[in-house]
């Protein structure tokens, strides 16, 4: 009951002690539930083939890195590093493009009055809600006809557009927070509008650029649906490669989890770097 209002006082006494213990227990339980699947993924990647499907499950074992070795160096065709590299190329290109184009549009929407400004801003935001699976058929045919199937270009363009909605909306908020006087002063100093954008406004929203870049990178890195349809072969990204495992009858769980771990951990590290603007980014500035 008393947790209804966040308690800001230092609590003393037996009753609060018991209450705090209960809070810790509940929090740890939830954290445990959150971490358990990740623990399973990492430990399974370090087990032998026999241990991965033993009953009862093996909890104590000597870790072995054979699965990582297999995933990276021993494989019939391409090995995991090829697909990790594809993911890296697509992620970096599409995030850079989305942030750059998004920053331009955001600045245009935040600083210039023109008819339809509001409609354009809302339209751009509303594309965040477009269900990817609803667009997959026409986009597949468009990509096929332009001869870009199984290329990184197709994925880069699609991911750029996917990220533009929230990048533009969030950066628009950041630009609106800059006092207009700073830019007016620059205008008086003889800067052109473009110079003000590039040299005055952009540096001032650096935290916003960082946050949107990292969020774009996370979305592009994790995206599966478009990747599986548009680039199923040589240009496949890591989630597509990962999905390929589940198609085989005898799943090599160790190797599967090793690739999964390599696909997930880089993003975890990213998250820790993001912390400060995570909420603002995920809710397009509605909550911060």
């Amino acid at each position: 009951m008393s947790t209804i209002v966040p308690d800001k006082k230092n609590a003393v006494g037996a009753a609060t002690g018991a209450r705090n213990l209960a809070i810790y227990l509940a929090a740890c339980l939830f954290v445990g539930f959150g971490l358990f699947p990740l623990y399973m993924m990492i430990t399974t990647s370090l087990k032998t083939d026999q241990q991965t499907f033993a009953w009862p499950p093996v909890w104590l074992f000597t870790p072995r890195f054979q699965s990582y070795y297999n995933a990276l160096f021993v494989f019939g065709g391409r090995s995991a590093d090829h697909y990790l590299f594809n993911s890296l190329v697509v992620t970096l290109s599409s995030s850079a493009l989305a942030v750059f184009l998004g920053a331009m549009a955001a600045y245009g929407l935040a600083r210039f009055r023109f008819r339809g400004n509001r409609d354009v801003a809302f339209y751009i935001l509303s594309t965040r809600f477009a269900p990817p699976v609803g667009f997959i058929v026409p986009i597949y045919l468009m990509v096929q006809r332009s001869g870009l199937l199984d290329t990184q270009i197709a994925l880069i363009v699609v991911y750029t557009s996917m990220n533009l909605s929230f990048v533009t909306w969030i950066l628009r908020g950041f630009f609106l927070e800059i006092p207009i006087e700073i830019e007016e002063a620059a205008l008086v100093d003889g800067y052109t509008r473009w110079q003000i954008f590039l040299r005055v406004a952009l540096p001032l929203v650096r935290p916003g650029l960082a946050a949107t870049a990292i969020l774009s990178a996370i979305f592009s890195w994790n995206e599966f649906l478009f990747a599986s349809i548009l680039a199923p072969g040589d240009a496949a990204t890591i989630p597509v490669y990962l999905a390929g495992f589940s198609a085989s009858m005898n799943i090599d769980w160790g190797e599967y989890m090793a690739v999964g771990t390599m696909a997930v951990l880089p993003i975890m590290i990213f998250t820790l770097a993001l912390q400060r603007h995570l909420v603002r980014g995920l809710t397009f500035g509605a909550v911060r």
Partner: protein, 294 residues
């Protein structure tokens, strides 16, 4: 002055045009193209050109049991998942607001699942739910289950297993957003409530909840829309089975288009989905405060 205004307008246009160009190419044009395809018979990988058939693809949808079923499954999944994620996440936001030592660290650990690649999360849960050697069955055994539980191969259980995997990833998201919204409420609001003699329960209903309204709104819409589009967990864990029990609209469109290769019908289903989601999105977007620098 007039000249500089015209120059301003040109600058604005140049700034916005590239982004709009990308969105027209990847959002507006494909939607129109989907409408066009949906009026044709169109089979993937067959050389015969698409043939115009009017609204047949849409009329067929009304008689298509799988389509009707997929709407129902989608509704069930979205309703249960969004409700569980919201209620648990909201409660946890209060829990994690407790000013106790180590809480900040626990919070950081709690939100880690948000960033996991959805396909990888499907992979992990597929392993955990395995009927023969999965950890979930081991826990069930420890709790005294008389036999193995078919988490993914029983119709009723499969959808709940998907909800659990989805909730694992997104409850922390609700918690994180609601926690941030709670922190944004200034201390004096609670002090005033206390001075007015409100009980904690009254404070929650009359003070806290109204102040959280916009955050609740954002979180709910995002969870509903994203649960509706979710496809990765189904792809890895159930592939729509058993017997269509987990065949959501997303999965049905995917399988009509790229497993059955019937692009015309898939496009018709897609148009229905896009319109449904657009309505939800419009309601939401209209409510966002446009003027404020948020």
């Amino acid at each position: 002055m007039a000249a500089s205004k015209r120059a301003d307008r040109r600058t604005a246009l140049l700034l916005i045009a590239p982004a709009m160009l990308v969105l027209v190419a990847i959002n507006i044009y494909p939607f129109i193209y989907a409408l066009y395809i949906s009026l044709h018979t169109f089979t993937l990988g067959r050389p015969t050109p698409p043939r115009y058939i009017g609204w047949s693809n849409y009329r067929d949808l009304l008689d298509d049991d799988r389509f009707i079923n997929s709407l129902w499954v989608s509704f069930k999944f979205v309703a249960i998942a969004a409700a569980v994620e919201f209620l648990v996440g909201f409660a946890l936001a209060f829990l994690f607001s407790a000013k106790l030592r180590g809480m900040a660290t626990l919070r950081k650990l709690a939100i880690l699942p948000i960033m996991v690649m959805p396909l990888a999360s499907g992979l992990i849960w597929f392993y955990i739910f395995n009927e023969n050697f999965g950890a979930m069955n081991w826990f069930a055994f420890l709790l005294g289950a008389p036999h193995r539980i078919p988490f993914l191969t029983d119709g009723k259980l499969a959808i709940l297993s998907l909800v659990l995997a989805d909730a694992w990833q997104w409850t922390p998201f609700v918690m994180l957003v609601m926690f941030a919204a709670l922190q944004a409420i200034p201390e004096y609001v609670y002090e005033a409530a206390k001075m007015d003699g409100l009980t904690p329960w009254q404070t929650f209903w009359r003070v806290t909840l109204p102040l959280l309204r916009s955050a609740i709104w954002v979180v709910l819409v995002l969870r509903v829309v994203d649960a509706f589009r979710m496809i990765e967990l189904i792809y890895l864990m159930t592939r729509g089975g058993p017997g269509g029990a987990t065949e959501t609209l997303s999965w049905y469109i995917y399988s009509t288009g790229f497993l059955d290769q019937d692009l015309g019908s898939a496009a018709a289903e897609a148009v229905v989905m896009i319109i449904a989601v657009s309505i939800i999105a419009q309601i939401f977007v209209r409510r966002l405060n446009y003027g404020a620098a948020t």
